[in-house]
Amino acid sequence: MLFNSTAFIAFFLLVFAAYWSLPFRGQNWLLLGASYLFYGWWGFTMPGLQGFDRVLPLVLLLLSTGVTYYCARWLWPLPEGSRKRNVIFWLGIAINLGLLGYFKYRVFVVDNLAAVLSQAGWNVSWTIAGFLLPAGISFYTFQSLSYLIDVQGGSQKPAEKLQDFARFHAFFPQLVAGPIERTRNLLPQLMEPRTLTPERLWTGLQLIIIGYVKKVAIADAIAPLTAQAFSTHGHHSGLGLLLGVYLFALQIYGDFSGYTDIARGVARLLGFELMLNFRQPYFSRNITEFWERWHISLSTWLRDYIFVPLCRQFRGRNWVYFNLLLTMLVSGIWHGASWNFALWGLLLGAMLVIHKLWSGPKAGKHPPRPRNAREWVAQLTGMFLTFHGVCLTLILVKTQNLPHAWSYFSGIFTGGALPTDAMAALYVVFYGAIVVALDFPCWWHDRELPIANEAPAWRRGLTYGALLLLLTFLGEMEAESFVYFQF
């Protein structure tokens, strides 16, 4: 079920009404049923799916839930370091990664293997079962992995009941595109009674409105232009290609952070607090800061479960750079099964390494808000360079293969402009201004919402009324899928 569909709006209104009229136990069962309906809907209604394929996504989710829960329960009482405990742990990891690997990477692996073999003179052709990539499999697999690792490490007690873990694993607001929740944040909330206060209700609604504006009025409105710019057909000028990348940067941010805002808002209306996933990333003054502000739940996951363990294995300053590159390569491959994504991860890793080498130990410390003209110039320059560095890598995300990415990238430098580029320029300026208007107050005051809770009622009313109007005026409620579903 897509957040930007009438079906979801009707679904959520019903769930919301029923949820707050039920006692705690009833709420928990409702949440579980609603989560499975939300996730299963995708398979039930997907055109072209028939028979078992319709329920396959739900079956995979249930399988991952069962395996993760029982592995955690079985390994917990066993002595640390025991062989049996390790076997159960690795079994749980292998099954979860196996599902992800099979459904997400099999075509990529088989294609590349066939290409390598054909170089060696063996022409083989394999028939690959044509399943669709189940939405959100990368997200819930990472959630399972962190749970298993935490239980194995002793920092997390496993959930007592299967239904408790199942609610955590399938919690519908964040199931298909994150934030990738940690057990210690979400599981305790699921075990305790929740309350709805006026503050929770209204801040949740504000997040939902902002999320819909970002997704429906920004990302979906831009989507046709980026599709045109990145299409291999047709003629594009250098300026047109450059504007196409800027537009894609706005689209992917609006799409993904919009999804997160809606997810957090919806969860808040149900009495839950999900982790922050975006903190105005395009205001980052260097690439290290960017990764602390973009898809925070993934970057912290990678830090805690890949980078830090790697640093424990491979110690020393020079190894840190290698570990960083390797972590970003994993990040790239997590995002998509193609060489484009692998190179995307490596490129971002290289940028992080260069920044660390350049800044030394200060790389992780970011300057406070600018206080004078000189600091403004320095920080704006940093933002400009970081944004363009990120845009450069986004070409790999949007193009179909490496030759396409290269031709797009080199096309930017061929120069030239067409009269039709004026439209793209207008979109960049207009939607860029909306993103800045929404994000700048949050960045400047380091808060979640653009209008402070303490602001006068008229200012809040006017702002959110205007945002709702913008939604009805520029919104494209065509239930366009979210870009991050494919990851």
Binding site: Q206, A457, G461, L462, Y464, L468, E478
Partner: protein, 370 residues
């Protein structure tokens, strides 16, 4: 809109709703009502759909030249009829022949377009209306494109004619509190401000055939000639077209309104049924269930009143000398097919000269231009 202005000590509803929520609601409703006049303005949509009057503004209204021959229809006509070629065949001024079809176009859209442009269309010498079972069937009522059209321009009576109760409720809600129906793209706003003239590089071309078929253009001797969009099986395509066919009340009434309107103005109407892929025709004729639905559809066409001057059935491409090489997918012609089909239609129209007097129109235009 936020909690702090909700008086914490108060009880009941006042605890939940502070003044900012009401201000936000007032801004939304007031602003929405202020935007209402935009409903009738053209909105250029990349998909070329006409709920937003793109075809009407950029194909019909921008060129003031009198129109002799107009084509109404769906994407089958958008990609299958080259108005310039038809004009050449009939020796008419190309500006006097307009293809007013749009992707997803239904009789409802054509009827509303005609109503809004009575002055431009009252002097037609002939109206050519595409009919195909898909756009006329009741199952199309909940298609997002139809719903878009209805929310944009449907009156209460039309909204109540939708097939599904849920759709009716949704559309009546939209009629009471219109939310979706003044949506504009930034591109449209930009075009409305700049008002580019035809020929300008940013002048939009809703009939430009860039979507959805990038393979529409055919370069003989290249792989483009191969049929690349046969992604839907012939049986599935036939099922979507005809299986369990019954007419949509909404489209049926719109079609009959159109016929009556033209009849009252003595404008002859020619209906045509564009070709589909031969495999689809085969699938339809071989299966008794399909064939029976097709018979129902043909009975419906025969029942239409006022009767059109002519019903040209080219459903089977063989009827107009086309083969599968002329189709870019199961139901749409490619460039080569469009040329052939346009010639075929022009030839058929020229055989009806006695009734539609296109030749005299060409002659009088020629004299006037000289």
């Amino acid at each position: 809109m936020n909690a702090p202005d909700t008086p914490r000590s108060s009880k009941g509803l006042r605890r939940w709703f502070g003044p900012s929520a009401f201000i936000a609601l007032a801004v939304l409703v007031g602003g929405r009502l202020l935007l209402e006049p935009l409903r009738d303005k053209a909105h250029f949509d990349e998909q070329g759909m006409d709920p937003f009057h793109a075809v009407e503004k950029f194909v019909l209204r921008q060129d003031p030249h009198p129109i002799d021959l107009a084509f109404f229809g769906s994407s089958q006509s958008v990609w299958g009829i080259l108005s310039g070629n038809v004009a050449n065949e009939l020796e008419l001024n190309p500006r006097a022949v307009r293809n007013l079809a749009s992707p997803g176009g239904t009789p409802l859209e054509a009827w509303h377009m005609v109503q809004r442009n009575q002055d431009r269309l009252s002097h037609l010498r002939c109206a050519v209306i595409e009919i195909n079972p898909f756009v006329l069937r009741d199952a199309l009522d909940d298609d997002p494109r139809t719903m878009s059209t209805v929310s944009q321009m449907g009156n209460l009576h039309e909204r109540m004619m939708l097939d599904e109760p849920a759709d009716r409720a949704l559309q009546v809600g939209e009629w009471l509190l219109p939310v979706n129906s003044v949506r504009r793209s930034l591109a449209t706003t930009f075009l409305d401000v700049l008002k580019p003239k035809p020929g300008n590089a940013i002048f939009p071309k809703p009939d430009f055939r860039t979507r959805p078929f990038a393979v529409w253009r055919v370069r003989p001797g290249t792989e483009d000639c191969a049929i690349q969009r046969l992604t839907v099986s012939a049986k599935t395509a036939a099922k979507r077209l005809i299986l369990h066919w019954s007419p949509s009340k909404l489209q049926d009434e719109s079609l009959r309104n159109l016929l009556t309107w033209f009849k009252k103005r003595h404008i002859p109407v020619v209906m045509h049924q564009p070709p589909v892929h031969p495999d689809v025709v085969k699938a339809m004729l071989e299966d008794e269930e399909f064939a029976s639905s097709y018979r129902d559809y043909k009975h419906y066409l025969a029942s239409l009143r006022p009767k059109p001057l002519e019903l040209i059935s080219a459903f089977d491409p063989a009827n107009c000398g086309l083969t599968e090489l002329h189709l870019s997918d199961r139901t749409h012609l490619n460039e080569m097919g469009a040329r052939a089909y346009s010639r075929f239609l022009a030839e058929k129209l020229s055989t009806l000269q006695e009734h539609i007097r296109l030749a005299s129109a060409a002659k009088s235009k020629g004299v006037a231009e000289r």
